[in-house]
Symmetry: D2
Subunit: 366 residues, 4 copies
């Protein structure tokens, strides 16, 4: 239980450090017969690759994925899919210095307390590079969900004080270097970001994720509610400090008469809701409406201003962090949020196949 | 994986429905040798008992707990602790009607989709009464944490627009019928609540929870981060729509220079932080500062106003809910938040004993 | 991870001690819509009830089961099924003495080492009474399997040197007080048993279990092989010291040419095997043939002869055990073996629904 | 739950196929601070490497392991240890033919039933090469256990009718090409094996494993007994058809008076047992004596004699298997048994640290 494995049926095991030989992931429990290729995985990884805009670390990494197992003639075999991305531009010398002190906002101190020492090169295991494993695995989950007509799409909702307008068409997110689909807001966020970069500071923001096409009935009613599992998955992304479902914290200010979503009957006779304050989940179980998730990201802790901290000897010192760092985590984290949501929905969707005897009988008497 | 079990080492299994014979819980993995009694458990259950103020359902239930196993001569034996609260005042006839339609904001529709039918009496398994199991188990976790000098305390932070002042002493929470430690804010929240009750409406709010005394090093660095597990535990409480750690969504608006917590050296030579924006967790691992968690609760979905919905035949209808319902969930949920936090910290604290070879050797060569 | 929970999808949590208030079990993950009653559960429990023959402890217990949750109008609801059997004839005074020393062959010493002390009354948690939980849960699994036309049937294969003849019709097992379907062997085993009882000694034996109707494809190919999970489930029954699948240890003496089972084509075009040395499992996955499992039970450790041991002060002493004990565990354990096999097959059968994308699509596009 | 992950705290995830790019394993939950190197891992892998004696497949593979993560300056960091062995001599053309039919004794048929198709090259995922992952992970467990003075040692006990003499010193196992410590028996087994090879047949056998130095108190009392977990681990090795603890099936023939192990007091005041029929486990918990496990291996199913079977079209055919195959699995499996035992004991030993409040307090108030 060192917690590098995620999921119950669709199980993902992440490994690797920022400046080790590579980052990898094993996806176990992926159903057999899904078309999958390195190109597909790569298309997701490219969205988190550094060095593509001025708002991300200049560390140039191709982050090229290799699939090592679990495929046969282009299809998943039902056995573990092992994927690896080798690390390429490791400038470990940048990190020699930080071995001796505790960077504010980083996991240096807590790793030392937990393990007695740490691989300090580039954050080691607590580096953002670990999310390569999540995105590669998430891409497999997306291939699975696609077969069922389910989409999982995330985008930047807010950066600093700049938020996208309501009802923005999030399909436009790829037109913005910040994955912010309201191009007006995106423009202003860029300006804000540039200013903060000049001030040697960093910025936070909010990512929103929408799951469309998930059938009603996914999620378990008590501890393993769909929203609880989504919260765990999203909060497990480094730098996330808050998670909301549907109206989230706004629901706390509402009253029952405004927050309740009435049920309606669609023209085709199926049941839907007239509003979606609940964000697609009732009692921990999907209700067939779009599932809405939001994640609050803190500003990148690595800033170039002088900061006050303590070294390993326990002496208070002033430090100035060097190296290559993103001034904001949010744009590259968009695909990570998508991945964790896709992994979670996939896992619970598979778990939910066993809830009804009538359907199990149908399944086995095929 | 129907998800009624929570935790890896300290494992809690909840069972029971609102109008069945009772609600119960099995706590497995509790260490041997902890003093425990029904009185201790009861003192926590009394805080969620209905009918104690005008702001909770008038359903009168003693909710008396009985310990059925796992104790010997007043101490835990290391084997499963089974606890039960028998249901007493079941007025199932109130619920006959709701069997036929889907209440807005409730899990009626999603249960029917998931299971094909449902025990409609009082919400069945999705009733708030299920939290009896969580509170009874949480009380066991609190007994464990007390032995290590760790406290877990929650209180009402906000109801509708009324929020407690900063730096309120949360120990005063028991002086307010709403568990709101700022008695001035509590007074105004009561007035607001009364008004909404007259309007046949309901109200939401925010609960905050503080964990003191947790040593640094608890939590795992990737998927099973302490904050991720807390988010899952808290979000698994019915009606919770958002979870924050430390500054939460405010951190998304901040910059690195204001959000980073610098490390300092205490007079006794130990290391601390000058601020606590991170809420006691860095890289998913406790840093020794107080752990701060917040939960947003939606308004009670059961309101007495007429609502529009659909019945099981798929016809749109207008309904008026009867029965006994809380106009606000928050005050009774305070101890539930506390319980889920206590369970989560306990479990990860036990898991964290195995992270260092030097300490394992010390342990086994005792 | 104190290990009182069994299974991944179909999860069983056992609790209770021999001389506590009762023994119980929570079955989580049972699909909704299965007809179930206390009478059905009781019919399985009656087969392990003491006091029905001269070969079991004279402790008279009705072992009457009560279902506390998870049923609605006679059907499972998909939520946890909690069951309890209250303990009735607790003669704890018989056990005062054994508190002070370690009985040979019992868990007294290991419990003290593990937990620091123990509930010594009647073996506490390590008592055979714990199997009530397994049998009650197993009965739920049997109800599930029955819906799919799968049977799980165990019987006594051997007691001391007396073994049933090959090709014995195991349906006759209920005609023997020892559940030994070869009535001739049963007769001789009874005589052997009576002799050993007169010598104040106890006897061991072998139980065999056959699963019919399990479809091919159940079980996972690496660690969670069907045979591996069966081995764990059966070996977790107290007093079991060996487990075999198919030819078991005899396969170690065989050669490939005699041990391999050739595939054949049935008249209806389906594929079968000409022999079944493999016991219905190939590569950890069911092959459609009957699944054959055997368990070796050691003799009851509680015997009335004088034995040499050590007391808690570390002094060597001679002891003579009093109380009520079975001279043989095997006959009452038959239904326990059946139960563990039923639980294991049920769990893996549910897990196996997710192995193929084509079937998942069919399932969700119903 | 496709079951490629093993363990709760010390978690091992295996991946890879016989003729894919490689075989690998991720070890998560290994404590920080253990000295580890590729040389150490390799020394275990070399014991299962093919082509070293005439009794194993002539497929020449170096099976060279590479550690990709989890080490820093020669020590484990507490984060996942990823290891890989690239496949080298893949002669896939040998396997084209077997794609079309079901080999007796192999998993071809069950894989097709479970997944709809299979990677038929060299057995794919069900190949014995998968055990590379187990042995590499087992070597990490052995490094852990060594720090606590615990040894896990296996050897060949029996091949065909030839068994080692009682009280054979198993340290001599490395002097026999069959890892059979009684060199006289080994000689006769070799002759028997040669004869069967000439007859184009294959042979089975029994492996025994001894764990020394395990403290009392390891294992959980109900479902996750030490013996139950060992049984699962050992039975999950391909070709194992039976598992015994201590006297195993012989205990079924014994009486209580001969099978019980009396407790005695050692000179130094500690408690021991005068005999060890129980094989070091009482009530599922280690008792401080050597832990004794035995595994029955069936003969290699791949034999060069003509066999009768069915092809994918359902036609009965006669086949003659080609390719490179071991005439016996046992000698190369010795280190695999050792590895699964080491993994199991390691995991339960870590789990067992949380059973007593007094020791937990001591641990945290260090």
């Amino acid at each position: 239980m060192a917690g590098s494995t995620y999921g119950t049926i669709f199980q993902v095991t992440s490994w690797g450090e920022s400046h080790g030989k590579g980052i990898g992931v094993v996806v176990d429990g992926c159903p057999a017969g899904i078309q999958l290729s390195e190109e597909w995985i790569q298309s997701f990884l490219n969205r988190r690759k550094p060095g593509t805009t001025r708002y991300s670390t200049p560390r140039k990494e191709e982050d090229k994925v290799e699939i090592l197992s679990g495929l046969f003639e282009g299809k998943t075999t039902g056995t573990p899919i092992s994927m690896i991305v080798f690390n390429e531009t490791q400038r470990s010398k940048d990190y020699k210095e930080i071995a001796s002190y505790y960077r504010p906002g980083h996991a240096d101190y807590t790793f030392d307390e937990k393990y007695g020492f740490r691989d300090y090169r580039g954050g080691g295991r607590s580096s953002g590079r670990e999310t390569i494993a999540r995105v590669a695995a998430g891409a497999v989950a997306q291939a699975f969900l696609q077969e069922l007509g389910i989409t999982v799409e995330a985008y930047t909702k807010k950066i600093g004080p700049y938020e996208i307008a309501e009802n923005t068409d999030y399909k436009k997110r790829f037109e913005s270097p910040l994955y912010m689909p309201d191009l007006n807001a995106s423009q202003r966020a860029e300006e804000y970001l540039c200013q903060k970069m000049q001030e040697k500071d960093s910025v936070g923001g909010v990512v929103e994720c929408v799951v469309n096409g998930c059938p009603a009935g996914v999620g378990e009613p008590v501890f393993r509610k769909l929203d609880a599992e989504l919260a765990a998955g999203i909060m497990s992304i480094g730098a996330v400090k808050g998670v909301e479902i549907g109206d989230g914290f706004l629901a706390a200010d509402a009253t029952g008469s405004t927050n309740n979503d009435g049920f309606i009957r669609r023209e085709d006779g199926t049941i839907a809701k007239s509003t979606n304050h609940a964000g697609g989940i009732l009692g921990g179980i999907s209700d067939g409406s779009p599932i809405i998730i939001r994640a609050a990201f803190k500003p990148t802790p690595s800033i170039f201003q002088t900061q006050h901290t303590v070294n390993k000897k326990g002496e208070e010192i002033d430090i100035a962090i060097k190296g290559r760092h993103d001034p904001i985590i949010v744009p590259r984290a968009v695909v990570v949020v998508e991945s964790m949501a896709a992994l979670t929905v996939t896992d619970l969707l598979l778990c939910s196949m066993t809830s009804r005897m009538d359907r199990i009988k149908e399944f086995y008497h095929r």
